[in-house]
């Protein structure tokens, strides 16, 4: 018989119930006649508190609480890729068929479609000894993703039987197994995993490879490593979501998990409409074929918002275990923190800062620590790169969520209101952002893109740093009174800002391969150094600034990625123009003397 309790009181998503003595902490429950899903979040003797993932309208005291015998879990297996799931892992597509255009309630927890048939290719034979992480079979889930069915963590034994090659549905038993104690067990094709528990790995590795994002300001300036953790904080309207979408579209990972946590419904729809039409630059297939969406829009129940982050992470870890690089975007972690705050408030817990519970930092730490580059149980290399958007109230980065997030991440892409107002996108500030991975991934860029990657990058940083000071002076006295050397810094910096750091989210400039990123950086730095020499020799900056070849530097990003040889011509023309300016001017100087 199933465990049963009864509802005593109802306060929004928080419910007190009695008769829970046999229930476990964090156990999933179904509440009331509508079978609303929830979980146990506090137990005190016979009584306890539940948080319910659906609206509790109409629920009455005395209604039944039924224990489901497992913590909140997500079903893992083929069918995830290309899906859009709600915060607790239910496909929104099947909810649409069930309840229509508006989301209904109840109906239990049906996750992956178990009736769907998949073509299974077995990879082991009867008699093979297998351990956790061993590849048992593969499924061609989409043209982009080979789904690898592995022996789940905590299991080992001898294969007694494996599904033969052919089409099988999700309810089939993948294999039969006998463990070391002689016990036989059946292994289902789909398996479940509790979302709040990190999936085990054999070993964690240091990040050393970059996750290429196709965004110049990131790859070229504040790079992120595979298995790294980054935060994108920014007030409203600074472009967090667009930046997250860009990363989801163009980062070179095998799988992208995108969690829309407490954000706009239209944004999820945009992803749903846009991704199937966009083509992955590496493979030529629609991006949706590698993407999994988790949607808890801001008007969907708040407790499910809290769970959505973990649902997404668990799915990401599942694909990592297959030996894949996974990128996970969470937009926005602030909404998740606010969901924690809301539940905490209803539990009447003593608040710490700004009403947030005292366990906010430890929850953030748990979350970000589930990222990483690892050796999987099966001995493969995989990674989960985690990029969280943060929405600080009033754009104030000293608020608790931003502040605590900074403790656990190593890459900080700060979005600045001034930049967004001037429509400098992505509005990632080059002064307050940082990446601790820059040094770690530099050798990779120097091996795979250009040996001068590091030196050119340093030169670029120096120009922008000097420009900071020059700009302060300009704001006081104007540009005209400055010496030419300083005005050249301002000119080069403005070329960097407009021609390099800015990048359109649409059209051909949306994706910039690292070779092009380098070509632009290099040419701008080269121009600066040549012009610097000329100015030092007394050539007026005005002559240089007016040259058409210099103006062309602002538009380098318009060059198509497959036409990088064009940079040669531009460089030659610039070179000869500067030479001419120099020669004329110096000759003039000599003749005057």
């Amino acid at each position: 018989m199933k465990k049963q309790g009864r509802v005593i009181s109802i306060n929004g998503p928080v419910i007190r119930a009695k008769g829970l003595s046999a229930f476990a902490m964090r156990e999933m429950v179904e509440v009331g006649s509508l079978r609303l899903l929830g979980e146990v979040i506090r137990l005190e003797g016979d009584e306890g508190i539940l948080q319910v993932f659906e609206e509790t309208q109409g629920l009455q005291p005395g209604e039944l609480v039924v224990g489901l015998g497992e913590p909140l879990s997500v079903t893992l297996g083929p069918g995830l890729v290309g899906a859009i799931l709600d915060g607790i892992g239910r496909p929104l597509g099947s909810l649409l068929q069930k309840t229509g255009d508006f989301l209904g309630r109840g109906g239990g927890l049906e996750q992956l479609d178990a009736k769907r048939n998949w073509e299974i290719f077995p990879q082991v034979q009867k008699g093979d000894i297998v351990t956790a992480g061993t590849l048992l079979a593969t499924v061609k889930e989409t043209p982009l993703v080979e789904h690898r069915l592995l022996l789940p963590p905590g299991m080992e034994g001898e294969i007694l039987e494996i599904l033969p090659q052919g089409f099988h549905d999700g309810e089939s038993a993948l294999a039969r197994l006998r463990d070391g104690f002689g016990r036989e067990m059946e292994l289902p094709l789909l398996h479940r995993w509790p979302v709040r528990t990190a999936r085990p790995v054999r070993q964690r590795l240091r990040p050393e490879e970059p996750l290429l994002t196709g965004q110049r300001v990131i790859d070229g300036y504040f790079p992120i490593a595979r298995g790294g953790v980054a935060a994108i904080p920014g007030g409203f309207g600074t472009g967090k979501t667009v930046t997250q979408h860009q990363l989801a579209k163009w980062s070179d990972s095998k799988i992208v998990v995108y969690i829309g946590c407490g954000e706009r419904g239209n944004e999820m729809t945009q992803v749903l409409e846009e991704f199937p039409a966009l083509v992955d630059p590496a493979t030529g297939h629609p991006l949706m074929e590698r993407t999994i969406l988790i949607a808890n829009t801001s008007n969907m129940p708040v407790a499910a918002r809290e769970a959505s982050i973990y649902t997404g992470l668990t799915i990401a870890e599942y694909f990592r275990d297959m030996g894949y690089d996974v990128a996970l975007m969470a937009d926005s972690t602030s909404r998740w923190a606010e969901a924690l705050r809301e539940i905490s408030g209803r539990l009447e817990e003593i608040p710490a800062e700004e009403g947030f519970p005292a366990y906010l930092p430890s929850r953030l730490a748990e979350f970000y620590e589930r990222a990483g580059r690892v050796t999987t149980l099966g001995g493969e290399r995989g990674s989960v790169t985690l990029i969280g958007a943060v929405s600080p109230p009033g754009g104030d980065f000293t608020e608790p969520v931003t502040r605590h997030t900074k403790r656990f991440i190593r890459c900080f892409w700060a979005l600045e209101r001034e930049l967004a107002s001037a429509r400098h996108y992505p509005a990632i500030s080059w002064t307050t952002s940082y990446s601790e991975y820059a040094a770690e991934v530099r050798p990779w860029f120097e091996t795979h893109v250009d040996p001068h990657w590091g030196t050119v990058q340093d030169a670029l940083r120096r120009i922008l740093a000097e420009d900071e000071q020059v700009q302060q002076v300009i704001q006081l006295v104007g540009e005209d009174v400055l010496p030419d050397e300083q005005r050249l810094v301002a000119l080069a910096a403005s070329i960097i800002k407009i021609g390099f750091l800015q990048q359109g989210a649409f059209g051909p400039d949306a994706y910039c391969p690292p070779e092009k990123t380098f070509a632009i950086m290099e040419l701008i730095v080269h121009f600066y150094e040549r012009a610097h020499d000329l100015v030092a020799k007394g050539v007026p900056l005005r002559l240089i600034k007016e040259a058409q070849e210099v103006e062309a530097l602002y538009r380098l990003r318009e060059i198509e990625s497959d036409n990088l040889q064009a940079f040669e011509g531009i460089r030659r023309r610039l070179e000869s123009r500067l030479e001419r300016i120099g020669a004329e001017r110096l000759a003039e100087g000599r003749s005057q003397r």
């Binding site: 309208q57 109409g58 255009d101 409203f236 419904g265 749903l272 606010e338 700004e354």
Partner: protein, 456 residues
């Protein structure tokens, strides 16, 4: 269903009453309360603890006497009666007619809380709404199904602007356009202005009006937007209208929510507002959109006044995080005599990027908008500089920016309250003004567009 009536209240605290000994009462159930004065008050259950129910009374608890009041639980949620005949009617916050024309006939009832739209059922909003205002159409384009608030302050002409947008709005296909006006805690004369102006605009049918005046019960302000949006959803998704919902003033709504939260003894977060202000506002704003398989659309134009002109105040801040952009009004512009006094750098329409340009408005629109934003933001920098060193000390390029800035505000931003400009006219005007700047400053515009459009 329990239609049992209970006599006597356990306690009365502000807008809340506690009823003891209840049975079979559901969370969020609708309640009717009759005091010794015989007046009917309406409420909803906000907390149940075993056999005690806490009820929030919309019309206030004044004149209720604990042991001489009767409470009836209705066994259903708060509902609004809907039928095509709601067009042109005026209702109170709970959906009861307040125009003296009698009950809505032949309707059916629907829960005012609505249900979240399944993101898969949505269609991404892409249809340009012509407002006839250069600054809005060009730089912060309104899209059908969008929620685009006006962030204003006391004393600024947000009401006039909202009326102008509502009356000039044109949707290229068909004329099945309806306006729903929602007054939340607004002054009597503001309400009168809106209703008259919207009626005079001659846009087909008169608006559907939902009113909670400043003098009406505070807690009812929490119901009025929900009731109105339920009606708007019905018009849009059942009847196929393109509905524009003008809601003012969202600040009053948030104040009422804070008042209730404090009465319930909840842990406050920022500035005393409850921690769920974001979710609560989202449950209103997210009721905008376009559905894939239904004809109509619901566009929201909420108006809020920023306390102390502070855009980082929780109300505008949280609103901005939910809505798809914002139109910010500037006191400085208004003081200079500019109407509409839009603060351009701070304003934004998130949905415009996918809905302008070739096939939507005009090919040059996206780049041109980017250039205008960027050039105008440079104007601000130059003005700041001129304030320090004096205008005479500026270089030629900087002087060009000052000239551009002035012309831009006077000719492009400013326009008459009844002046309706075509998008093409606005874009051409923008090109004309950009010609005041040296060509080398137009770094946002691809050379092909410059060649095609820039004169001189």
């Amino acid at each position: 269903m329990s239609l049992a009536e209970y006599r006597g209240l356990e306690s009365i605290e502000g807008p809340l009453i506690v009823v003891d000994g209840v049975k079979g009462v559901g969370y969020d159930e609708a309640v009717e309360i009759v005091g010794p004065d015989g007046n009917l008050r309406r409420g909803r259950v906000v907390l149940i603890e075993e056999n005690r129910a806490v009820v929030q009374v919309f019309s206030g608890t004044a004149a209720l006497v604990p042991d001489r009041s009767r409470v009836r639980f209705l066994g259903r949620h708060l509902e609004m009666t809907l039928s095509p005949s709601i067009l042109g009617r005026t209702f109170d916050g709970l959906g009861e007619p307040r125009d003296g024309c009698g009950a809505v006939l032949g309707g059916f009832r629907r829960d005012i809380n609505g249900q979240p739209i399944n993101p898969m059922a949505r269609a991404y909003p892409r249809d340009f709404i012509h407002t006839g205002l250069s600054v809005v159409d060009t730089l912060m384009t309104l899209i059908r199904g969008q929620k685009l608030p006006i962030f204003s302050s006391n004393g600024l002409p947000h009401n006039r602007l909202a009326v102008q947008i509502a009356s000039q709005s044109r949707i290229t296909s068909g004329d099945n356009f309806a306006v729903v006006f929602v007054g939340i805690g607004i002054r009597n004369d503001d309400a009168a202005y809106f209703i008259e102006a919207l009626r005079d605009s001659g846009k087909g049918r008169p608006p559907v009006v939902f009113l909670n005046l400043a003098s009406d019960p505070v807690i009812e302000r929490l119901a009025v937007p929900r009731t109105a949006l339920t009606a708007a959803e019905y018009l849009a998704f059942d009847l196929g209208y393109h509905v524009l919902v003008v809601m003012t003033d969202m600040t009053n709504y948030c104040e009422a929510l804070r008042e209730l939260a404090v009465a319930r003894g909840e842990v406050p977060s920022r500035k005393g507002y409850p921690g769920y202000l974001y979710s609560d506002l989202a449950s209103l704003y997210e009721r905008a959109g376009v559905l894939r398989d239904r004809p109509g659309s619901l566009t929201q134009l909420p108006i809020l006044t920023m306390p102390n002109d502070d855009i980082t105040h929780p109300i505008p801040d949280l609103t901005g995080f939910i809505t798809e952009g914002q139109i910010v009004l500037s006191r400085e512009q208004y003081a200079q005599g500019v109407y509409p006094p839009v603060d351009i750098p701070a304003s934004l329409s998130r949905l415009m990027k996918d809905s302008i340009g070739k096939g939507f408005t005009r090919e040059d629109h996206p780049d041109l908008a980017g250039q205008l934003f960027s050039s105008y933001s440079k104007v601000q920098e130059v003005r700041a500089l001129a304030g320090v060193v004096g205008e005479d000390e500026l270089g030629a390029v900087e002087k060009g920016y000052l000239k551009f800035g002035q012309a831009f505000e006077k000719r492009f931003l400013s326009q008459g309250e009844r002046e309706d400009r075509e998008i093409g006219v606005s874009l051409d005007l923008a090109w004309e003004l950009l010609s005041l700047l040296p060509r080398s400053e137009l770094t946002r515009l691809p050379s092909s567009l410059v060649k095609a459009h820039l004169k001189g």
